[in-house]
Subunit: 238 residues, 6 copies
């Protein structure tokens, strides 16, 4: 029995609110149940120094949590003077995942930065971030095409992400905080719309997981990601 | 003529949404027109080291802006590894302003931290932060009284803040970004409900201001702050 | 009765010693009673990167305190690895105040940096810094004109600053440390020689101040600043 | 055809040299072909502050690369003043992987720190680090048991790690740098001696991988890890 | 011929001004010709954590240069966020040199911090700092004895320092900036009043120096240090 | 009697292993008894910014210790976020010492960086680093000549270094950790093959040293350095 009463293969309510803030080229509030993340996409007409003369674009991400997005207040990273290891790990993951959907040559010499800022955390902030950042990225690229800065569509796939895990011996989909904090295994999966894997990151928190358990979790993830992709498509169509 | 079409003494629409996020002891979304700030109040049962054995509480503030709360993306302070001078200036101002409303001895040996995070900026983020943080602080203190951690009300006044300035030769109330960025003088005023000043910070951006101009601006500020206080009271009553 | 025995409207002894150290383009020891600050002006033939191609100059300031300028030793900011919020606030104030007296276009593509280093603190270090930095700035600009690097005078006003406050219920001028540390209200005022305000920063430390108290303090500040300006002119004439 | 001429399922030569340096409680030079990492285990009779009163031990890891362990010199992280995201990600992975093999309650209130310093890199430094750190950890724990600081064996499993990937369309085991830098998919797998997974981290560098490709890679990883475990056992027996 | 016209064995004018600032337990302005350093001694009734329970005192030093103490402005270390290698080297040298004169057990569980801040540099700032810090240290210790916090004199020797070098082929004493910047060899010597060496730091800037040249420089240093010690004694007697 | 049983003028066993790692232009493992340092030389076709247009090369050094190269674990400098004073002091010394052997004009506009990483420490790590870095530097320069990037030999001397000290009243050569940690005086000497001094750094740890003791130590250092230079020549000839 899950704390939320959901079935093992049941997602939380997924919602994408586009144009959530007014300045960014893409701005999306993504909600996975009580987890809420503001994802913005910023287009800048320059690339990092190490891509100079490479004649291609870049997609990168930064991640942060408001100090009181969590049950007890976390110290503000800006105030402590550095980003922690978890933050770095997550923002590298978001960046890699989104780059997997973009033809960087077709993007031209510009950078799209995806900022994912968690305003309320209830488990799964990184997978919500990836899923929401995809929608913000789409809006930013639509803008580039609309203003004729881009001729060719640089997006070559849809990207979404969900967490799965083993909670009290059962494989479950889309863990909330109550489950996540006591799960035996936690796995984050990023997939594209061809049903292939972009990232698979599974960690045994309690005991190690067997190959059949891995298989079950991947099946659940696939189901969840199809639902998220459906929600992404509906949001982008509206 | 103001860019927004407002009269010189006209505030933007002010709104306080309480319980905006679920974890904090006080959580308020404050809106001054298009400026939107999440203000949370966190209660912790400890005080800073330098107050050890002082037998009193503390109220402090931190301020941040989401990277894309502004027209062009600002570098994330956590990533740059330090908070800039403007951030420090603002969070010190917020902390001082709120402490002016609290009897720190009556608060007991605990700290209330007010986090003000700007999700959309359109001028006046610091005055919106102070005004919103006051509401979050009230909610946090109500909680302490409700759970009988506090016997005596430590709040001894209401606090609100507004900006005034001289725009194209005219004194105006509650500057938005279009006005702020080209104002000749910019002044932030913090007052209490007795009509007295907690902070007055006026800066000549273009030419220096005369005593009569200062007087006009203070009169406008007083009018605006009365309206904000009315909105605070209504939000707290609902 | 003031701790120093001064009348409420009486300044401490003000002194400007020019050419205090030998390397800088302007070098002034400013003394407001026992408060002593070395103010140097450095001219560099380059501007900050963000002013590239702007065809104008820049005036900026940095502030520091020797670790034992104060009653108990303060940690050295260089050793702690960052400047505190108070330092940043003060150096931003000094920079803004001096820029208000300079035509940055007439200055040409050069930067003047005003370093204000407190060697002995007894209250009012920021107002002494502004007043002393003005004299150092004048000397640096004189040098530029003398060596024909500048044709046109870029200074278009005189700048001085003083603190005022409410001490034991009475408005007093030019607070020393004994007064400052127990004042109910503390206000720093920067004015030009036309009698107009460049900065007004008033903070209620104890109880909030009324409009008539503000008025009294501004009148005292005006009187004090006239005396400081007189001392500046005499120092520059000698 | 692999650049090294190896078969797709062929490991590089694996070697563990115990007692490589003399001060540490465990000190191992691990070699996966030309990749060489010094892994030391340090025992300290204290635990991190956040485990105070938890009555358990802790196992953690730090990772570094000598500046010229790589083809072109990397800036020294100590000199740049912070550890990069990749370093943090790797040292968090090493720590988690080893903790999965240790009963932290049985360890008592002490910390074992595993330092993995790459002196020569040729692909697979993180998997070599995990595999070598396990041997260093065993030696450190043997010492604790030998000196009767521990009564009960806190190790409850053997841990090893290997990388697998898809190189020119073929699933291959234990990628060297030439393969790693152009692989389409790169996966790091950590397993225990019961054949279960502790970590699975797969990343599509080029195109996303299908479920059958994932399966092939996991099979290869299992084979490689069995060989590494055999080498670990032989080294520990000698 | 030396740029200053001095004889090879001639010191610059040495001056120690005690009670230079009012807050510190010892405060000395030391001048070696145009080199001017404020040396303060601060007594604090605590010792560093690593001396806890060691039942002894500590003497340490910090060194800084005002940004415009030199011919061209140096970036402020507080603003750059770290102390450079040269600063660290010098402050470690000052601390070691002064500790050589103090019986740390007799000092009791307190720390004396010597802050040496260069307000004008013209070569030899580190040797002037050591020589001036000795006088400040004496004043601080006198105060401890006078207030009966110390029963027994913890100072067991006098310490002074001077630079010597080879300038245009000749060994010279007490190099000023003009000499220092083009010297072939530069040596800093710290001695006690028994004529023994506390530190000898010689560096070949141009060509390496022979044993007889080393001998000549040490003889010059001995002569200079006797003169500095005489000046220290006179200052302390006045 | 020395702890190691060596005669006062007896060096530890000295060994230079060239081509210790495969990527660097020069790579040497230097051993002074149980002290082991990896010294690599990296050639980069660029010079520091401050040498722009100077038409010369640069030689610099960085130094580090693996956390568990020592008896108890030292915190990793990369993790603490800065290099300590001792590290900076040593790497500046190594750089200066090697530059004394190189004609920087003949080197051309390139930088050679010497990384000295201590993998096992038993006293004398800085002198071993200098001696080993010289061999790595020779190999890097041989490579430049061999590939005809350099026409003219930029090395104009051989450099080696050894420590001497006073241990239990006797001058001894090449102190190991047991001696170093209780020596009364510790001196590091760098010489060239003409028998002249590049650096002499003597520090009285216990009591100050007399001129005749200094003389004895320098004689011992000269003997030791001749032996090291012989070992360097043999290693380079093999």
């Amino acid at each position: 029995m899950r704390p939320s009463g959901r079935n093992p293969d049941q997602m939380r309510k997924i919602q994408f609110t586009r144009n959530y803030t007014k300045h960014a080229e893409g701005s999306v509030l993504v909600e996975f149940g009580e987890t809420k993340v503001i994802c913005t996409a910023t287009v800048e007409e320059r690339t990092p120094r190490w891509l100079k003369d490479a004649n291609q674009g870049w997609v990168t991400a930064e991640y942060g949590m408001l100090p009181r997005s969590t049950g007890s207040r976390m110290g503000r990273e800006a105030s402590r003077g550095k980003q922690g290891g978890r933050t770095m790990e997550i923002q590298r993951l978001i960046g890699r995942s989104l780059r997997a959907a973009v033809d960087l040559n077709a993007l031209g010499e510009r950078t799209i930065t995806l900022d994912c800022d968690v305003i309320q955390a209830d488990g799964g902030t990184r997978t919500a971030s990836i899923s929401g950042a995809y929608v913000a990225l789409c809006d930013a690229i639509k803008g580039l095409i609309h203003t004729e800065k881009l001729e060719k569509e640089p997006l070559h796939g849809q990207v979404a992400s969900v967490s799965v895990g083993i909670y009290e011996g059962t494989s479950v989909l889309d863990l909330d905080y109550a489950e996540d904090s006591s799960a035996e295994t936690d796995m984050n999966v990023v997939m594209n719309d061809a049903g292939a894997f972009i990232e698979v990151q599974g960690t045994a928190e309690g005991h190690a997981f067997r190959k059949d358990e891995l298989q079950n979790m991947l099946d659940l993830a696939e189901k969840g990601i199809q639902e998220i992709m459906q929600a992404q498509r509906e949001a982008l169509a509206s």
